[in-house]
């Protein structure tokens, strides 16, 4: 209706409400607003509460309503003699049909009692049975999650045994530094021991990291690095558009399922400034000793990401161009000594397939 004509509020109602709330609190504290006033405010309407109020707590009100007597006054409200025959006729009709009415009311009473009982049973049963089933489901989900994330594995001992050597990791990180030269706000997703961040600091690249491990975050901060303990995706979602000029994520993608990875890549694209790079490195399953063996050493790895598939994911997320760079050559390979011709070619192919580079990175630019 005429809303909008006087749309501006005449007074700041919120401020006034806050003020009167303060007054009520104050009067409570001073005892001015005491139990006697409470009693007055809660005083029920004589003759029983209104049906509209009873709807607020229907089950409690129902038992009271069932027991209520039906009050009907057959006396006519017409004054004088005119009312007398009306009153008489009403009384007579009620008397005549009293047994019929009794049959109906007694059956209705029976139905009411059954309905009330059934509702109470439902009310009592719902919380216990349904809630215990929900609790069982939640518990089962927790167990599955714990197993999928290998929660009971001592990950630091695992990393000691199977993780790469610090120097090696550093050399690997170095090869990507040119992509971040001169950048001021590069995010290292899963910054771990802070290898990349230290390197960035040395070459004058502004970088910070996020990691879920409180120990690693603590350790990195002790080295003077800017690291936050927060979920990477949550952090990315919190960032404004075009607020980073580089993203680096080593051995992160294989810890999330591909469907989730798309969402994260979409966020990466959003938060980067045009011309900056998103670099993600992961084990290279194209090398069979990785795809069939070392990838599966870590129980928290979800699925191997074939390089061409990962490249496609970045392209679908809007990065262009997207290149693949393999690295971390296998230490072993079959000797090619004394071979030539077709035999050499076959062996090379075999070497490449079994003992190719163990990692690769996809390098995408935000256009």
């Amino acid at each position: 209706m005429s809303q909008g004509h006087t749309s501006e509020r005449a007074v700041d109602v919120d401020a006034l409400v806050a003020e009167v709330k303060g007054r009520v609190r104050d009067k409570r504290a001073r005892g001015v607003y005491g139990p006697d006033v409470d009693a007055a405010l809660l005083r029920p309407l004589p003759g029983g509460p209104l049906a509209s109020d009873q709807l607020e707590d229907a089950l409690t009100s129902l038992s009271g309503a069932i027991d209520q007597e039906v009050a009907y006054d057959p006396r006519s409200r017409k004054g004088g003699l005119a009312g007398v025959p009306i009153t008489f006729a009403r009384r007579a009709v009620i008397w005549l049909i009293r047994w019929y009415l009794f049959e109906i009311t007694s059956r209705q009473n029976h139905i009411n009692a059954l309905a009330l009982r059934a509702l109470r049973d439902l009310d009592a049963r719902l919380p216990t049975e349904v809630l215990s089933r929900i609790a069982a489901l939640e518990n089962a989900k927790r167990v599955v999650d714990a197993r999928e994330n290998a929660q009971y594995l001592d990950y630091s001992r695992f990393a000691q045994r199977f993780g790469g050597l610090e120097g090696q990791v550093r050399r690997q990180a170095e090869q990507f530094m040119p992509y971040f030269a001169g950048r001021r706000r590069v995010l290292d997703v899963g910054s771990g021991r802070g290898t990349f961040l230290t390197l960035a600091q040395e070459v004058g690249v502004g970088a910070y990291g996020v990691d879920l491990s409180p120990q690693l975050v603590e350790q990195s901060r002790a080295q003077g690095l800017e690291v936050y303990q927060i979920d990477a995706e949550e952090h990315l979602r919190s960032l404004p558009d075009a607020s980073l000029d580089g993203i680096f994520a080593v051995h992160f993608a294989e810890h999330v399922i591909p469907g989730h990875l798309f969402e994260i890549l979409h966020e990466c694209k959003r938060v980067l400034v045009p011309g900056s790079h998103c670099i993600m490195a992961t084990p290279n399953p194209r090398t069979l000793t990785v795809g069939a063996h070392t990838f599966w050493l870590d129980p928290t790895h979800r699925k191997p990401l074939p390089p061409d598939a990962f490249q496609f994911y970045l392209q679908m997320s809007g990065f262009e161009p997207v290149t693949i760079q393999t690295y971390n050559a296998s230490e072993q390979h079959l000797s090619e000594e004394g071979l030539d011709g077709i035999a050499l070619a076959n062996l090379r192919l075999l070497n490449e397939t079994l003992f190719g580079d163990r990692d690769y990175a996809v390098i995408g630019m935000k256009p």
Binding site: T6, R9, L16, E19, V20, R23, V24, L41, P46, S52
Partner: protein, 361 residues
């Protein structure tokens, strides 16, 4: 093609109630546009009997070239009969109080409101166009199934309020007391019982002298009226709660004249005419934001979203202490009245009925 005449129907027409006033004001408007226009009813109260025609005459007189406006606030079998008439029809919805307010209190009212709501759904299939007197009412029309709807507020004959306030009422109640006023039929949906509880708080915590004036007819709700009185008596407020019953226009003006503040705890209002009356008589309004109250007040009242009774009592005190705050609200109320001026509402009525007035039946 222009209709030949614009007639209106409401089951009951009386002097002083909001629907009847609206019907008579519209009749004058239609006549001023050059249409023959009459008001028809099943029951006309003595005060208006001379100017209301019995509805049966519609069956003889209404033709396909007429526009018939059905005002709906309560169910009646007559609506079903009238929709069979050849005249074009438009429904004006004044709202039907949900029957839950009357169950166990007033079986008669519960029955009629329940029938009224059911009938509204049935009419949605037979009446092509319906007007709500508030956005709140229009939403109910839409959910009842009306295809084409509009909002046009009540047309108010403001000259009715230009009366000399009743001297007896003024003399009796004028004074330094905090006079809390509510105007409206005594009815469970208007929650006069909650106003009595609010008075209990106000007298205990804000101002011992506070009094509550409940201005409005109570003949239709004797049971609820008795229970509200009993509540006041139990709380020791029998002398502080004044039930005036129906009042004349000059008495109404006098009650607004002595009021410190208008307070509404009503839970269901289709329009809330008394809020505008309070604006007209320069009385500040504190109200529960329920039904159409908020949209009618349009920012010129102190609207509270939850029914926290002590807050209402403290607001009353705050308004008494701060003349400047009171004046700001009163000034905003007066500005708000412009939106409901006869000229504005007449124009909105014309715009809403444009199609009905131009297209052949």
């Amino acid at each position: 093609m222009r209709p030949r005449a614009i007639h209106q129907f409401h089951p009951a027409l009386a002097a002083g109630d909001a629907v009847s006033n609206h019907v008579f004001a519209l009749r004058e408007l239609f006549r001023s546009w050059g249409y023959p226009s009459e008001a028809y009813a099943v029951e006309a109260k003595p005060a208006v009997k001379a100017e209301v025609l019995p509805y049966r005459r519609l069956f003889r007189e209404a033709s396909a070239e007429d526009l018939l406006i059905l005002h709906f606030s309560i169910g009646s079998d007559v609506f079903d009969k009238l929709t069979n008439l050849p005249a074009r029809q438009t429904l004006v919805y004044h709202n039907v109080t949900p029957s839950a307010y009357f169950e166990g209190v007033n079986p008669h009212a519960a029955l009629h409101t329940r029938k009224g709501r059911a009938q509204l759904h049935a009419l949605a299939k037979r009446v092509p166009f319906a007007i709500g007197v508030s956005g709140f009412n229009r939403r109910e029309l839409v959910s009842a199934g009306f295809a084409r709807t509009a909002v046009v507020p009540i047309l108010i004959d403001w000259s009715r309020y230009d009366v000399v306030p009743d001297e007896r009422v003024l003399a009796r109640w004028r004074g330094p007391h905090t006079n809390i006023l509510f105007v409206g039929r005594i009815s469970p949906n208007k929650r006069q019982d909650e106003l009595v509880r609010m008075l209990a708080y106000t007298r205990a915590c804000v101002d011992r002298s506070a009094r509550l004036f409940l201005v409005g007819a109570h003949e239709d709700q004797p049971q609820y009226r008795a229970r509200v009185s009993a509540l006041a008596a139990e709380l020791g407020l029998a002398d502080a709660v004044i039930f005036t019953g129906s009042v004349s226009e000059s008495e109404l003006a006098a009650y607004y004249g002595v009021a410190s503040v208008f307070v509404s705890l009503s839970e269901h209002e289709g329009f809330a005419m008394p809020v505008l009356e309070a604006f007209r008589f320069r009385v500040p309004v504190i109200a529960l934001d329920a039904g159409a109250v908020g949209e009618t007040a349009g920012g010129a009242a102190l609207l509270l979203g939850e029914k926290d009774i002590p807050l209402f009592g403290e607001m009353v005190g705050l308004l008494r202490e701060r003349p400047a705050l009171r004046e700001r609200l009163v000034a905003a109320g007066e500005r708000r009245l412009n939106d409901f001026s006869a000229a504005n509402v007449a124009e909105r009525t014309r715009a809403a009925l444009e199609l009905e007035l131009s297209v052949a039946a």
